[in-house]
Symmetry: C2
Subunit: 378 residues, 2 copies
């Protein structure tokens, strides 16, 4: 096979949901090179996926049944596919060019939580709205701050979203008025999907947390800054966020991420025991993954506006999961947890237009055009 830089490698073996012109039924697939691999047409003989299990869990319109099987089964699927690729034994009929498949939302998401785990992002936003001295709230360095998002409006990347309307503050009258949002923003995030959940009242221990994480997706937490800033006091973001959140169709498993494991930012003060478990302080629970944001107007080329990295997350996914359940909150297979906007230390690594334009006080040059937020003309 002819694989280029953008193709899926044998290390990756992501999982997702596809349909195709020749078969409109949604089903589970993987991807290799420039092809999707229809997993309903691949034979799985291993101890966990043999005996009809694979046929059952891959003939589904969501990954949930497969995810519920647990990490040993995810590994078996991955290794089976890697072996078939190496031995050139994938059935020809299972391979469909990625350009010919339609991607769908990978999981049925019961609950969606969004964290706020980049110190640079939290500091930038805090500086803008509360000044440099009160930028970071005192609780931020002690707990992975998070909030509940809206699961129903999480859709797959590429889904058209409508610009939201709502009440926006008129700064002169100090009164709100109804309008389409004029400060539409993006948030560069990575999210994890819960593979195995926990029962209500039984926390997931930090040391066990990786076995509960199926994998990761890219996420854009589309945000309306003018709606959000009016509504969010005192109970948090609501309509400024829940008109839509997009996630990438392919879920990359934690096993695929292993080669990219690295240390997270130094955590000082040392977090509470339930957030560190038996691990060495600041152990390698982060992942070194370059993240980029491109901006495109109706006329422009794709223009790079942000280069960040997943390793900038201060609070790791393991810590987020341990925190989320420390009070006994139950996670279910398919639940989605967003990292929060991942901003890095330099200005070109900020993960939102809010930060990149410092709340609209400066413009971005998009291939010759000037932009602050996601503008439209009305």
């Amino acid at each position: 096979m002819n694989t280029n830089e953008l193709d899926f490698s044998i290390q990756n073996i992501p999982f997702g949901i596809i349909s195709s012109a020749s078969n409109s039924k949604k089903r589970v697939a993987s991807a290799y090179g420039s092809n999707a691999i229809d997993l309903t047409l691949v034979k799985f003989n291993g101890p966990l996926l043999g005996n009809g299990v694979a046929e059952k869990v891959f003939n589904q319109c969501f990954l949930n049944d497969f995810m519920e099987l647990g990490r040993p089964a995810w590994r078996e699927a991955r290794q089976t596919l890697q072996n078939l690729i190496k031995e050139n034994k994938l059935p020809a009929e299972s391979l469909i060019s990625l350009s010919q498949v339609q991607n769908h939302l990978p999981a049925k998401i019961g609950d969606y939580t969004d964290f706020y785990a980049s110190k640079e992002h939290a500091t930038n936003v805090g500086t803008m709205f509360r000044g440099k001295d009160n930028a970071l709230m005192p609780n931020w360095v002690h707990i992975p701050v998070g909030y509940h998002g809206r699961a129903s409006s999480v859709v797959v990347t590429g889904t058209n979203l409508k610009r939201p309307s709502g009440l926006i503050l008129d700064p002169t009258t100090k009164l709100p008025y109804y309008s389409k949002s004029k400060k539409m923003d993006i948030e560069l995030e990575v999210a994890f999907l819960v593979g195995k959940g926990n029962n209500l009242g039984e926390p997931i221990k930090f040391d066990d947390s990786e076995d509960h994480i199926f994998g990761m997706v890219l996420m854009n937490d589309w945000s309306s800054r003018d709606i959000q800033s009016y509504e969010y006091v005192p109970l948090g973001p609501f309509l400024g966020k829940n008109f839509g959140t997009t996630v990438s169709p392919w879920v990359v498993t934690l096993d695929a991420m292993e080669p990219f494991r690295t240390s997270q930012p130094h955590q000082d003060p040392k977090p509470a025991d339930y957030l560190t478990g038996s691990s060495v302080h600041n152990a390698g629970d982060a992942y070194d993954v370059n993240l980029q944001v491109y901006y495109k107007t109706p006329k422009s080329k794709d223009t790079l506006i942000c280069e960040s990295n997943l390793k900038y997350m201060y609070w790791t996914f393991k810590q987020q999961l341990a925190h989320h359940t420390v009070n006994g909150c139950n996670m279910n297979t398919g639940d989605l947890c967003g990292s929060g906007t991942i901003s890095g230390p330099t200005e070109n690594s900020f993960g939102s237009l809010l930060e990149l334009t410092w709340n609209g006080s400066k413009s971005l040059n998009i291939d010759g055009e000037e932009r602050k937020f996601l503008e439209y003309w009305y």
Copy 2:
């Protein structure tokens, strides 16, 4: 039949999910007098529920399939049952003493939102934490403030919940420490269940909102005040709430609520058009329903600690639903929207221990014992 004050009247005809000793399968039921009515054993011949539809939607472990049929079908079910009761024609085998049935969560809840719709409650909480002059945030009188809650931990009333642990602020060191919650609270709420949803990007208009509401349940939004107050800045309540929320098993439809319709509190300033539709200013969109909270210790009798009323809600359910979707957010059948704590104007009508004890500054007398929050000994 011998119906006493606490029995279900012919006006009510609620819907819920039961199982019983003789049939452990969950199924849809109604209730009349002191009996559950197993709806899988009742014949429905109407245009919407005949032809096998009733058999299909009532043989389910959640109400969702029935709710998805829409308001005309809910009405047909209600009227059929009322006629059968009047004519004494309910099949004997369909009646099971309520003392013999087990109640279950009525709906599969995709998303759960909690509002903050009682002006008295918001003012009380604001006064406690920000002082009398800044009690009510300026946005509060313009929009029904709400936030996303956790759907996975909404369980039926009677489910045992474990006291949550988490990080709590030590006021002397100003540092958090890990502990079981010492300020466990309740919140008296009523919630509505979405019957018919809307597509992403297509708001539910105020004037159409009642057709999207299936009915109401009582809700207790169990809250840990010490966990909540540490975590909630700036993104809202999270672990202080999501360890558990209980809802009553029987859903009372809007049609059953009709006789209790009354005016909501006067809304000044007049809300935006999308929150009023074509209705008369402060039309009769509230419901006059007495609400009571009883407190019981291991030793005490049930002791009345609060008498409130659903009509104290400033923002109506119709306004909440129109607000929730004005930005295009999609609601699904089974989604749950809580009213927020319903406090009235008098001290004995406050719907939380936080308010009743003014954040623990005074005690309640529970049948001779002294209580501030839901204490335990450790």
